[in-house]
């Protein structure tokens, strides 16, 4: 196993060693020390509104059940029978009073406690008294922020609010936009996979330099399409989004990249799609703004709608779009294999048409068959392939190094919107997690 000294040598101010993307042993250590410690986003409370509601997901590679218990609290349990190890639930979501192991019938309550063991006396004379210690393994810490569910596999660590720090504003940004003050997950889940390391997607989502290169083909193809015009059509959102990826360098340089504590960060917005960006000239938004103002007042509405963040990263498994109502959850499968689950949100109290636009947006930005996303996935795979080469040891992350600008508290802003400050910050956090034994 790698020692602290070796780990420290692999993360330099302007570069990291390629092993951080390609070494299977290092990946195993990451699962323990990064994914085994950090707060990981699991989903949203709207997925499990009633007692007995549940969904299954992963924390790193750990299969977990997220359930609403009878007392209203959310319990997160490892999906593994305490007897011989079978999963006790295979459904992606549903409603159950209890989870029954298919192998020998061990039966668990929605808080993971063991309720019933068939032929219990066969396990020994003290079987009944042992039951208390044979529940599903509970994930020790579960918290939610504005309805977003997080859990940590570690018993100790910062509270969720402290962990999120300035990133809480990204979640506020989405929820505050809902006239009724609530959002809900809706509209299906994309699950796109790639043959590459989990870090690649987190780096890419705040990378303001890549769109003009990775997405050149969809930019060019969309520029030849007819200009969006009234009446608005379904295709307009995709066309504008694809074209916007071809924004001039000056736009990307000016939008801003911020890095906060624990490896989190966000990118300023660069959008000019009046169907998506409230505050621009679109008739649906007049109605929407009216509803929001009625609830919170004009001044507060202006403030809420004035937030312009594109992607927010909550390291190590969350990529979030408040204004555009998208959540991506990153699940590492192997050192060179990752799956990203993507979710859309409905703003309660907003005009129905806004959700249709959210769906159209999700198709172009997160869709498994998207013109745009497929090129991102292809490039992740090419990076992974290149980083398997033994000829070069280092991955350079020095763009903007030395030019970071102090912002509020520990938050720093990149010298330009295309600074690699966010990647350096992610690796600083990575090293902190990995060095703690």
């Amino acid at each position: 196993m790698l020692g602290r000294e070796q780990l420290a040598m692999m993360v330099r101010p302007d570069r990291v060693h390629r092993a951080l993307y390609s070494d299977p042993d290092l990946f195993e250590l990451e699962m323990q020390r990064v994914f085994g410690r950090a707060w990981l986003i699991l989903g949203h409370e709207s997925q499990i509104p009633a007692a007995g509601d549940f969904f299954t997901t992963r924390m790193g590679r750990e299969p977990v059940i997220v359930a609403r218990h009878a007392d209203g609290s959310v319990k997160v349990m490892i999906n593994r029978c305490s007897h011989r190890g079978s999963t006790v639930c295979e459904d992606a979501r549903g409603h159950r009073a209890e989870f029954v192991c298919p192998y020998h019938g061990w039966t668990y309550r929605t808080d993971g406690s063991l309720r019933f063991v068939p032929l219990a006396q066969g396990y020994g004379p003290d079987a009944e008294s042992k039951k208390a210690g044979l529940g599903l393994v509970r994930v020790p810490r579960v918290e939610s922020y504005r309805g977003f569910l997080f859990a940590s596999l570690a018993t100790e660590g910062p509270a969720l609010y402290d962990f999120l720090g300035p990133m809480s504003a990204s979640f506020d940004d989405m929820v505050d936009r809902a006239p009724d003050g609530e959002v809900e997950i809706a509209g299906g889940v994309f699950k796109h996979t790639y043959h590459g390391n989990w870090k690649l997607v987190l780096e890419n989502h705040l990378d303001g330099l890549h769109p003009n290169y990775v997405h050149a083909s969809s930019v060019a193809a969309a520029r030849e399409a007819p200009d969006p015009a009234q009446p608005e059509k379904y295709a307009d959102i995709a066309i504008r989004q694809m074209r916007q990826n071809g924004a001039p360098d000056s736009v990307w340089e000016s939008i801003g990249t911020w890095a906060t504590e624990f490896g989190h960060g966000y990118l300023g917005d660069y959008h000019s799609d009046s169907r998506l960006v409230v505050g621009m000239d679109n008739p649906v938004f007049a109605e929407y703004r009216g509803r929001l103002e009625k609830k919170v007042g004009s001044e507060r509405a202006t403030k809420i709608l004035g937030v312009t963040r594109w992607n927010s990263i909550v390291y190590p498994n969350c990529s979030f779009m408040g204004q555009f109502r998208q959540l991506r959850i990153v699940h590492p499968l192997a050192v060179d294999r990752t799956v990203v689950y993507t979710y859309s949100f409905r703003l309660k109290g907003a005009p129905e048409h806004m959700f249709r636009d959210t769906i159209a947006f999700s198709n172009v930005v997160n869709g498994t068959g998207s013109w745009v996303l497929t090129d991102d996935l292809e490039v992740y795979e090419r990076v992974q392939k290149g980083l398997s080469a033994q000829a070069g040891d280092w991955v350079y992350l020095g763009r903007g190094l030395g030019g970071d600008i102090g912002d509020a508290g520990p938050t720093r802003r990149g010298a330009t919107g295309t600074s690699e400050i966010h990647i350096r910050s992610q690796f600083a956090a990575w090293l902190d997690y990995m060095m703690a034994e």
């Binding site: 996979t193 193809a221 059509k233 995709a238 249709r356 068959g369 090129d375 292809e378 490039v379």
Partner: protein, 163 residues
Amino acid sequence: MPKHAPDPVSPREVEQFLYREASLLDHQQFEEWLGLYAEDATYWVPLERDQKDPWNTSSIIFDDRTLLEIRVRQYRDPRAHARLPVARTVHQVGNVALVQEAGNEVLVGSSLVLIEYRKERQRVFGALVEHRLRRTDDGFRIASKRVDIVNSEAELDGVAFLF
């Protein structure tokens, strides 16, 4: 053979049309393929089983004619990383059935087995397909196509080819 009144839609004609669509895709004649679609056509690969509509649930692909044209143009761009090289495919169309005729349109069900090969990886997809074909003076045009792949809800690598 006794003479019958001419059937407005012959099963054989429909089959031949679907085979032609498949062949154009398999020979990467995307522009000609696009020519089979009506100006108001939609091309839909739903994300969810039994998905009701493309408006309130995301789709693996949901394109109108404008977006399909972008897709075809992108194939020809020398910077289309996920499409270089273009995936080689075999579209095996079977179980063709005329479901319903209404006016100048016919609803056709079929099954599709698709083999996709690109960069040392081969994938197999199975799908139930529904075409709405419109009769024109120039033969059929596709008014809508819905492709329900059996693994639409599964974890999937990027889809940079056409079903």
